[in-house]
Structure formats: structure tokens, C-alpha cells
């Protein structure tokens, strides 16, 4: 019984907290930053209030009975065991209450599903374990991976303020614009969720599903993948920077400039030391999650690269594995995710790191040639 009172007290306190201290959200949904999120927020509060009311009435009656109708205070048992009127009443009343809840809920459902008339459209792709963003109107594309260093995760360094909720390249959107999201996945199921924006949608390989949000405040909003997607499911956060229209324009220009210089890299020839240095970064961002920073993989799950037949065999075969992946395993095809220069760099790094001392180097042109071959072969295979 003590527990009951504690519980009711806690629930009341929780309710009080969200009413009085509007900034303190530890007991309720995150502070909404979009019209849908705030509708959901209020819908949830309304339902909680109704539940709390029912709880107090029903368990008030039960605890009254537990205290008064006990043998130790000499209460004699009555013998009634049915009463049709009462039973009909307590079937009908909940039904009516539910109808009262269903109407506002249905309105929010319809508002959520209405993805028409967007100001801009962003395609989001889930990968094991990062997010890819394609701005369909602006032609900007990039990947967004966890920025928290391994040392913090392994408790070797002090954890930063946004531990596990920080990325190298956040998604950027202008404030007050209706953003339509086309969400899909490349390998397994993922789910894209930013609580404050009220948008959550499963990312399903082979299917594109849509959702939308309209951020009404400038700020940084953080979320995570919420559908189990394997080992690093907990390490693929989402960060959305909501900025002013002018800042957004500037950001788009900057991204376009960066894309142009990356394209220029594909035409260059690098020396081995440059490739290894660049490859180490690419490896850390794309490969280390499975094959580990020491190249040893995880026995039984992910093969080692250090000393492997692929990394110490012919260089073209090595590039092809990285480009096309290994179908039927967790090894993804990186051809679409990485530039020629990045693939050349990471292959070179893998062939010259740890126990691998091949001493050779792959060049972007070599990757481009193999990429052409793979694309030519693909239609024939179908």
C-alpha cells in the first residue's frame, strides 16, 4: 500500500513538473520544436491526465476496501456476486472515455500523415551504422557518422556534453520550412527519429517511406536510430541543425564547394604516404566498427583484415570487395558511399597497416576503371 501512495505521489509530481516547470522535461516528452511534436505532447498530457483520474477513482475504491473490508477489523463478507446494472455501466463509461480520446488522436494521425506541399525534400538512407542525406532540390549529399571518439566510449577520456549524440556532418534545414523526408535503408531496418521534431519513421531497405517536420525554432536537435540494426545500433545518432534561411543558403554553397573539390581529387594521383594518411581516416569512419581499429575484426562475426587473403592478394580483387561488398554478409558495398579517392586511400591503408606490408598503392583512376567494369557487368547479371 505504501508503494501505491508513493506511486500516485510520483505520478502527481511528474504531472506537476510538466505543468509548472515548463523547461524541466525529465519526466515528460522532450520540449516540442515542431507543430506535430507539440500536438503529440499535448495529446500525451491529456491521456495521462485521464488515466490518472481513472487510476485514482478505481484504486481509491480498492484501497478503501483493503483498509475497511478486512477480516482483522472484523468485517463480515457480503455475498453478492453480480449486478448487471453496475456491469453495464462500467462497460459503457470506459467506452465513452475512449471515444473522447480517439477523436483528437485521429486528428493528429491525419496531420502526421499529410506530407503534401513540402518546401524541400531530403532523402535519408540508413546504413550499418551511419546515416546518408541527399538534398534532392539542392543536389547536396553527405554521410553523417558518430563523432564521439572511441576513447570516450571506452571510458579512457572524459565524456563530452553531447556524448553519443554528436555527428561529424549534421543535417541542416532552414527554420519554418516544411521538410519532407524520404526514408529508406541500404542494408537492414533502421529508424530515423528526432524526438523534438516529432518525426519517426522506420527505414526499410528496398522501400521508401515518407514523413515530414517543420521546425519552428532555430537550434540543434538530437536523436538516434531506434530500430535494432546490429552491433552499433546504439552508435548512429542523428543531429539536425535548424538554422535561418540565410545560414542555410550559405551552408548549401559551402557543401557544393566541398563536393567539387572531392570530385577533383578523383582525377589526381597521390603518393603512398598521402593515401595511407587519408585512408586511416576513411577506415576509422567506415570500417573500424566491424573490422576494428587494429584490423583484427571480431572472430566468428567480422573477419580480420590484418593478414587476410584479400588485403595481401591482388589489388584489383581487394578494390572490388570494397566496391561491391560481399552479398549475403554484413560486408556492405561501399561503391556508392565513398569516392574513388577515398576507396583508393582506404585500400592502400589496409594493405600497408598492421601485419600487412604490401608496399603498393591504389590510385583513384584504378578504382574508377573497376567501378566502370562493375556497372557494365551489373545489367548483364540481371
Amino acid at each position: 500500500m505504501k508503494i501505491m501512495w508513493q506511486r500516485t505521489g510520483a505520478a502527481l509530481a511528474a504531472w506537476g513538473a510538466c505543468q509548472t516547470a515548463y523547461a524541466e522535461y525529465a519526466y515528460n516528452l522532450q520540449e516540442p520544436a515542431s507543430p506535430i511534436a507539440s500536438q503529440v505532447f499535448h495529446l500525451h498530457n491529456m491521456i495521462m491526465l485521464v488515466c490518472l483520474g481513472i487510476f485514482v477513482v478505481v484504486f481509491g475504491a480498492m484501497f478503501y476496501s483493503l483498509i475497511k473490508h478486512r477480516k482483522s477489523v472484523g468485517h463480515q463478507a457480503a455475498h453478492f456476486h453480480e449486478n448487471t446494472t453496475v456491469e453495464v455501466i462500467w462497460t459503457v463509461i470506459p467506452f465513452v472515455i475512449l471515444m473522447g480520446m480517439a477523436y483528437p488522436a485521429a486528428k493528429v494521425v491525419i496531420a502526421m500523415k499529410d506530407t503534401s506541399n513540402p518546401d524541400m525534400t531530403i532523402k535519408i538512407t540508413g546504413y550499418q551504422w551511419k546515416w546518408g542525406y541527399d538534398y534532392l532540390n539542392e543536389g547536396v549529399s553527405f554521410y553523417s557518422t558518430l563523432a564521439t571518439p572511441r576513447t570516450q566510449i571506452e571510458n579512457a577520456a572524459t565524456k563530452g556534453e553531447h556524448y553519443l549524440l554528436e555527428v561529424d556532418e549534421p543535417m541542416v534545414v532552414p527554420v519554418g520550412k516544411r521538410v519532407r523526408l524520404l526514408i529508406t535503408a541500404n542494408d537492414v531496418l533502421h529508424a530515423w527519429w528526432v524526438p523534438a521534431l516529432g518525426a519517426k519513421q522506420d527505414a526499410i531497405p528496398g522501400f521508401i517511406r515518407d514523413s515530414w517536420f517543420e521546425a519552428d525554432k532555430i537550434g540543434t536537435y538530437r536523436g538516434q536510430c531506434v530500430e535494432l540494426c546490429g552491433k552499433d545500433h546504439g552508435f548512429m545518432p542523428i543531429v539536425v541543425n535548424v538554422v535561418s534561411e540565410a545560414d542555410y543558403k550559405a551552408w548549401v554553397e559551402k557543401k557544393k564547394g566541398a563536393a567539387a573539390s572531392a570530385a577533383a581529387d578523383n582525377g589526381k594521383t597521390f603518393d603512398q604516404a598521402e593515401l595511407v594518411a587519408r585512408g586511416e581516416k576513411v577506415y576509422a569512419a567506415n570500417c573500424a566498427a566491424c573490422h576494428q581499429a587494429n584490423g583484427m575484426g571480431l572472430p566468428g562475426t567480422f573477419p580480420a583484415i590484418s593478414g587476410s587473403k584479400v588485403a595481401t592478394g591482388p589489388i584489383d580483387a581487394h578494390i572490388e570487395v570494397v566496391l561491391n561488398g560481399r552479398p549475403g554478409t554484413a560486408m556492405a558495398a561501399f561503391g556508392k558511399q565513398l569516392s574513388d579517392a577515398d576507396i583508393a586511400a582506404v585500400v592502400t591503408y589496409q594493405r600497408n597497416a598492421w601485419a600487412n606490408k604490401m608496399g603498393d598503392a591504389a590510385q583513384p583512376a584504378q578504382v574508377a576503371a573497376l567501378r566502370g567494369g562493375a556497372e557494365a557487368a551489373a545489367p548483364a547479371a540481371q
Partner: protein
């Protein structure tokens, strides 16, 4: 007795020597033996899967990775779920059904005693396959108990073994269900009409119907996973023209009724316990039966509420939202009936009653969070967060598991002939109920704040509630050792139990001596 001794003297037909020791348990066809086996199996598995939960909570005590590799963490969450559902709750309820259904109906045994034996002995085989997969290269299944493709397609050999284990457990459930249905319908004593049956029998009858309707769906779903993995089919592979979301539809078409398979027998047990200690007949017996049946029927049209975030059309979301909310009506009727049963009774608070009262309260909290999750827009915010974890642990721990504790304390004196230790029982109750709330209540807040489920590491703002939950988990986990001690102590000895055991007990099981003799009711009792 002298007859027996005399008969032994000139026994020419000694060809039916009855086995002893291990062989006796392997070959037994007695419903009481098999009930005991089910319950022992569930207890062992409870400690196995409970230890996994403690490992999970230990890892989540602090942000950062301390104890477990993320892949092993996923194996633990997956196996904890699979074993708790298929290895603890379901076998425990089967154990109760085996012991109690024949006793309650005045039947001599189950309708198919030999099939009953097979149904049980398949379970340890499946259990060994599941637990053994931890030792295989790549470890146990790590794709979540829901086994969603394409993640499930990526796994190693243990994923195939788990499918085999699911098949074996499914076969066991089907054999058990056929036995229970035929026993309840065909083996009733004269005068024991359906509407006179104890509610526990009703809830199990409906549960068995649900099992028979849905088990082929599960078997088909996991077989299609198996052929997708190994034989090049593309049922769930978009690249081959399949649809990964269809697996979720098929799976939840099975698994939502499964959720009620895990809770209806709990309703039955609580409906036996509360009238006994309120010394007053169950209020609204007929409406309880109808409510149980409506919940079972509704369970077939609500499955997609587990999938509001896959991107269904608005019409589908609305349909599944309304049908799900409707379940609150019969569930509410049940809660009101239990409260009305206590109303103006003459209550005492022995351990079974305490667990039953905690069940009514805490299950209702799980029901309310279920109602919150039924509202599609709110569910979309909370789906796959700790709010959902809190919700289903309130219905499965303080619901199903607490009803199992209530049932064990209630019937253990009948089974063993000894009273359990009331003081230890009360300690077990209070520590469990306090521990359970400390673990799971903060999880609501974690989910609201945005912590996803199934993650081995979390952002700093989730730290405090996770630490509280971990402390609670250890209190709850270790207090189950008291339960083990109580059970062992009661089996060994203790005050002799009378045949009625409880002052307010009603029903045929209380007319046979305690402990219940090996064979009961071969000649039918007459039910007025």
C-alpha cells in the same frame, strides 16, 4: 495396505516394473509429475534469463562500455526476451494447467497423458539449443526476440538453431494446447458445466485456442526466414521482390495473440486467488468469461499497433488505433470485477493475496501505458524507446510473473502438503514489489526523454534513471533467491497443510487431501 503386500506375494505378471529416479521423470505420464516438471523448468530458466537481465542492467549502470561488447549485449537482450517468454512464462502457465485443470474439473488426468509427456520433454531440448548457441562461433542470436529480417538474415549458425528451437517449442505448445482443450472440454466431472468451471480453466481454454490458431503462423514465419537464409527464397528480401515489413505483419499476427497467451492464464490465477482471500465469490463470473473471450477475439485485429512506424496509410493507422483502444474495455471490466470482488469482503493478506493485489494495481499501470501507446501519434514518439520496455515489463513482470508467484504460494501447500513460510513469503513479496517498481518505473521517464531500447550505451542525460533502474534490478533479481528458498523449504517440510488449506477456498481441488494423491478423481466427484 495388507492387500498390496499380499498381492505382491504371488505376482506372476511382473512385466510392468515402474521406473524410478531419472527414468521415472522421463517416462511419467502423470499430470502432477508433468506439472512439476514444467514448473521446475520455468524456475531454472527464470534464473538463467534473469541473470542475463542483471548483466544488461550492470552494463547500463553507467554511460560508456564497461562490461559487455555491444554484440554480446544484443545477444543478451535477445535471449533474455526469448527465454523469458518461451522458457519461463509459457511453461510456468503450462505447469499450472497440468496440475490444476484436472484437479479443478474432477478429471483423473489429462486427456492424452503420453502426448503430455512429449510436450514437456521437447522443451529442455529447445532450451539447450538456445542456451548452447552462446558457445557457437559468433555467439547467440542478437537480432532481437522479434527476429526481424534483414538483420536476422545476416546472422550465423545460431540463427538457424534458434529457428529450430522455436519450431520445437511451438510443437510443444501445440501438443500442450490440444491436451488442455480436450481435457477441459471432455474430461469434466458430471455436473461441471462450462459456466461452472473455475475461471482459471476458462482462461486456459481460450489461451489454448489462441495457441492453436497462431502457432502455425509463427512456424511458417520462421521457416520462411530459414529458407530466405539458406535456400535462396526472397519472401522478405526486397532485392528479390519480397517485403521485409510483411515479416513484421506475419510475426505480430502471431505475437499479439501471444501477448494474451502470456496474460490470460494470469487473469485466471488471480481470479482464483482474490475470491479465496476476500471470502466472497468472484464478482461477475459471466462477464469475466465474456471479457476474456472478447480480448482473445480482439487480439487478432490489433497486431499492426506494434508497427505504427513502418509507414502505414492513415486509414490503417486509425483502424489499428481504434481496435487497440477497444481492448481497454474488456480489460477494464476485469479490473473492476476484481475490485468489486474485494469490495465488502472479509480480506486477509497472505502472500498469494498480496501478489494478486499487486498484480491488479501494477498490471493496471501497464494497461494505462498500453493505452498511451495505443494512441498512434504518441506511439510513434515512444515506439522502440524505454517507455515500451517499461510498458511490457509492467504487464509481464508485475502481470504474468506476479500471478505465477501468487499461484505458487496459493497452491504449493496443496501440492506439497506443507505450508510455506509466511514470513519469508512476505519478505519475497515486499522486496519484489519494491524492486520491480524501482527498475521499471523510471524507464517510463527514460522513454519519454528519448532513450531508445536495445542500446548498450547511452547519452549522459539518461544516467540517473538508468542507475536507479540498475539498483532496482539487483534488488528484484536477488530477492528471487528468497522465493527459491521458500519453495525448497516447503517441499522439504513445514507445517502440515489441511485439505482445504485456505479458509475461503472453494473448488474441487480443495476436496482432495494435501498433498494431492498421485491419482485423483478416477471416480468422478459430483458437482452440484
Amino acid at each position: 495396505m495388507s492387500d498390496v503386500a499380499h498381492a505382491h506375494g504371488h505376482d506372476e505378471h511382473g512385466h510392468h516394473a515402474h521406473p524410478t529416479g531419472l527414468m521415472r521423470w522421463l517416462t511419467t505420464t502423470n499430470h502432477k509429475d508433468i506439472g512439476t516438471l514444467y514448473l521446475i523448468f520455468a524456475l531454472v530458466m527464470l534464473f538463467a534469463a534473469g541473470s542475463m537481465a542483471l548483466l544488461i542492467r550492470a552494463e547500463l549502470f553507467k554511460p560508456g562500455l564497461q562490461l559487455l561488447h555491444p554484440d554480446f549485449f544484443n545477444q543478451l537482450t535477445t535471449m533474455h526476451g526469448l527465454i523469458m517468454i518461451f522458457g519461463v512464462i509459457m511453461p510456468a502457465f503450462s505447469g499450472f494447467a497440468n496440475w490444476q485443470v484436472p484437479l479443478m474439473l474432477g478429471a483423473p488426468d489429462m486427456a492424452f497423458p503420453r502426448m503430455n509427456n512429449w510436450a514437456f520433454w521437447l522443451l529442455p531440448v529447445a532450451g539447450i539449443l538456445l542456451m548452447g548457441s552462446f558457445l557457437l562461433p559468433g555467439g547467440a542470436v542478437a537480432g532481437g526476440w522479434t527476429m526481424y529480417p534483414p538483420l536476422y538474415i545476416q546472422g550465423g549458425i545460431s540463427y538457424d538453431l534458434t529457428i529450430l528451437a522455436v519450431h520445437i517449442m511451438g510443437l510443444s505448445s501445440i501438443m500442450g494446447s490440444i491436451n488442455i482443450i480436450t481435457t477441459i472440454l471432455n474430461m469434466r466431472a458430471p455436473g461441471m458445466t462450462l459456466m461452472k468451471m473455475p475461471l482459471f480453466c476458462w482462461t486456459w481454454l481460450i489461451t489454448a485456442y489462441l495457441l492453436i490458431a497462431t502457432m502455425p503462423v509463427l512456424a511458417g514465419a520462421v521457416t520462411m526466414l530459414l529458407t530466405d537464409r539458406n535456400f535462396g527464397t526472397h519472401f522478405f528480401n526486397a532485392a528479390g521482390g519480397g517485403d521485409p515489413v510483411m515479416f513484421q505483419h506475419i510475426f505480430w499476427f502471431f505475437a499479439h495473440p501471444e501477448v494474451y497467451i502470456l496474460i490470460l492464464p494470469a487473469f485466471g490465477i488471480v481470479s482464483q486467488v482474490i475470491p479465496t482471500f476476500a471470502r466472497k465469490p468472484l464478482f461477475g463470473y459471466a462477464s469475466m468469461v465474456y471479457a476474456t473471450a472478447s480480448i482473445a477475439i480482439l487480439s487478432f485485429i490489433v497486431w499492426a499497433h506494434h508497427m505504427f512506424t513502418v509507414g502505414m496509410p492513415a486509414a490503417a493507422q486509425l483502424f489499428f488505433m481504434f481496435s487497440t483502444m477497444l481492448i481497454a474495455v474488456p480489460t477494464g471490466v476485469k479490473v473492476f470485477n476484481w475490485v468489486a470482488t474485494m469490495w465488502r469482503g472479509s480480506m486477509t493478506f497472505e502472500t498469494p493475496m498480496l501478489f494478486a493485489i499487486a498484480f491488479v494495481c501494477l498490471f493496471t499501470i501497464g494497461g494505462f501505458s498500453g493505452l498511451v501507446l495505443a494512441i498512434a501519434p504518441v506511439d510513434i514518439q515512444l515506439h522502440d524507446t524505454y517507455y515500451v520496455v517499461a510498458h511490457f515489463h509492467y504487464v509481464l513482470v508485475s502481470g504474468a510473473l506476479f500471478s505465477i508467484f501468487a499461484g505458487i504460494y496459493y497452491w504449493l501447500p496443496k501440492w506439497t502438503g506443507h505450508m510455506y513460510d509466511e514470513t519469508l513469503g512476505k519478505w519475497h513479496f515486499w522486496l519484489s514489489v519494491i524492486g520491480m517498481n524501482i527498475v521499471f518505473f523510471p524507464m517510463h521517464f527514460l522513454g519519454l526523454a528519448g532513450m531508445p531500447r536495445r542500446i548498450p550505451d547511452y547519452a549522459l542525460q539518461f544516467t540517473e534513471f538508468n542507475q536507479i533502474a540498475t539498483v532496482g534490478a539487483f534488488i528484484f533479481g536477488f530477492s528471487q533467491l528468497i522465493f527459491l528458498a521458500v519453495v525448497l523449504k516447503t517441499v522439504k517440510g513445514g507445517a502440515k497443510a489441511t485439505s482445504k488449506v485456505w479458509e475461503g477456498a472453494e473448488g474441487l481441488e480443495w476436496t482432495v487431501p494435501s498433498p494431492a494423491p498421485y491419482h485423483t478423481f478416477e471416480t468422478a466427484p459430483v458437482v452440484k
